[in-house]
Symmetry: C2
Subunit: 363 residues, 2 copies
Amino acid sequence: MTENSTPPRLFIPGPVEIEREVLEEMQRPMIGHRAPEFSALGEDLNRLAKGLFRSDDPVYILTSSATGAMECSVRNCVREKVLCFVNGAFSERFFKICQVNGKEATRIDVDWGMAVKPGLVKEALAGGDYDAVTIVHNETSTGVLSPLEQIAEVVSEERREILLLVDGVTSVGSIPIEFGKYPIDVLLTGSQKSLALPPGLALMAVSERARKRAEEVESRGSYFDLLTIHNYWLKNQTPCTPAVSLMYALRKRLEGILADEDGWYGAHLERAELTRSWARERFKVFPEEGYESVSLTCIENTRGISIVDLNAFLRVHGVIIANGYGILREKTFRIGHMGANDVDQHRHLLALLDRFLEGERAN
Amino acid sequence: MTENSTPPRLFIPGPVEIEREVLEEMQRPMIGHRAPEFSALGEDLNRLAKGLFRSDDPVYILTSSATGAMECSVRNCVREKVLCFVNGAFSERFFKICQVNGKEATRIDVDWGMAVKPGLVKEALAGGDYDAVTIVHNETSTGVLSPLEQIAEVVSEERREILLLVDGVTSVGSIPIEFGKYPIDVLLTGSQKSLALPPGLALMAVSERARKRAEEVESRGSYFDLLTIHNYWLKNQTPCTPAVSLMYALRKRLEGILADEDGWYGAHLERAELTRSWARERFKVFPEEGYESVSLTCIENTRGISIVDLNAFLRVHGVIIANGYGILREKTFRIGHMGANDVDQHRHLLALLDRFLEGERAN
């Protein structure tokens, strides 16, 4: 690869394509993170991030990937026993993060491709004295969107002191989120997914009772200590030097989304529906019906094509998609709908896929 | 402050001024972190970072501030008992990070403004059965550079299984570092200091015996688990999605430094010496003689001027410096020599400071 060759256009489920004018925000001159210039930026982000999550509770901005925010939620909000619903690779990661942080984690497996249902949650909660639940809202490994609102109601009905910790990495920003309306305690995402920014930041909405929980949890550590983060965020600052340049880009993005939420979310749905109907005619949409993700479409490789060959073909034509994740590697492939690829660029991608399929038939 | 006003030129000890051509690296189109494009970048960074640290051991790149790397070193490399030398605010932070991560931390205080000396280290080590030592190479709060090489020899002579964990946040990149030549186990820094990049990345050189130690330490967590980080870095990748845009800027910077190390380090020393001699004629250099930092000069406010007024005056003229840190707030002020302010810009700053002092005399 030569240094200046243009990389392929990304139709993977993150990182994603980013508009030039958003990247340009990172050209702003550097500022001190304890200077009034930063507080002004922090104040904007404080307000805008609450707008995105539709939250009255604070939405913290961490300089880390979303995995860091997952660890933050576990170290601060799990007292002892946590119930983890695993229906894909990222919900399994949430479970493992609980384990390696010394929490007593119970894992409830759901077939990959299936959603986590409120009935199962209710049943599983009865099996133990849990103080927290982890769930992935939209499983990036399988393209499944679980019914978060109903799950939140069930957890909340069960016992008020059970905290609901939600990985919203590929849901927040691709579908409207109502953090304030449902009893959710932590909802987190990363910058390089539906927010269509470079990686390096995580956003995390945290309920007041999750913050209260942190006060009674030992060994919260330093970098992800929620109480310290909260105290600084009250002053529109962060405990450590944050990724200022990325924050400028984040501000620009959040302003754009909030200026036209219907347009932003509608465009994601349009791309997803286009791709799903293309896939249904040629393959099979992998997730169970009614629970298909809006941020990516996971397609079952019912024709047994070589995904490696497919991506090699696409790369020649300047685009890439994602193979299946982990155990689904050659069994599925995934097309991301996040980022700056509009519906016409999706049509172009699908036309390329059709050309590949025609070539397969000809062989 | 209007949205598009130019922020003041930074003479604070980080974040620092950054050249346009380095910021422009962040305009590159996004790439997938599991794609060959990333592995090529990772391979470059792997090699260049080892060059910067003069290390045969790997230098990992974390998406976090340097505080995250400090926590990483503590969670992975301290088995139980750690001896922390505290001669300023950041070495105190290192001690506190040990505490909040459940380590048995013993604190040895040294007067702010004084260096940590090998004799003291030898003496303190005899007082307990420590398995690790923390030290800050260059205390940003006091402008003191401790003699790392001699300390490393002393720790190593004492007992080979004591690991030496070093915060090099404001030393790495402003003075030549020989990680491979001395028995240092962890040496870490952040991107927004002497590397003159936006904040958001930490670099961390880790010895083989520190990695071996991690294998026997429980509760290393997830995001900062050294063994996982190491295994991915062998493939020029990171466990989680890293801050790719910042990494492009890092590559550009490291290429620049390594192309002319003498020029790079010489320029830092020239700016520091200019500032020190200015300060000696008008005030007093705060750190004890012979241990003055090269990356910043901490000046004792022997004339009792108002640092708040001074910075207000400087801000009107488009620059800012830093007040004293914590307990030294009005007792000292600090001028950073890191980043894209050349010696002429330093002269301009010092001339502004003289104008302020003249105004003080006139009042």
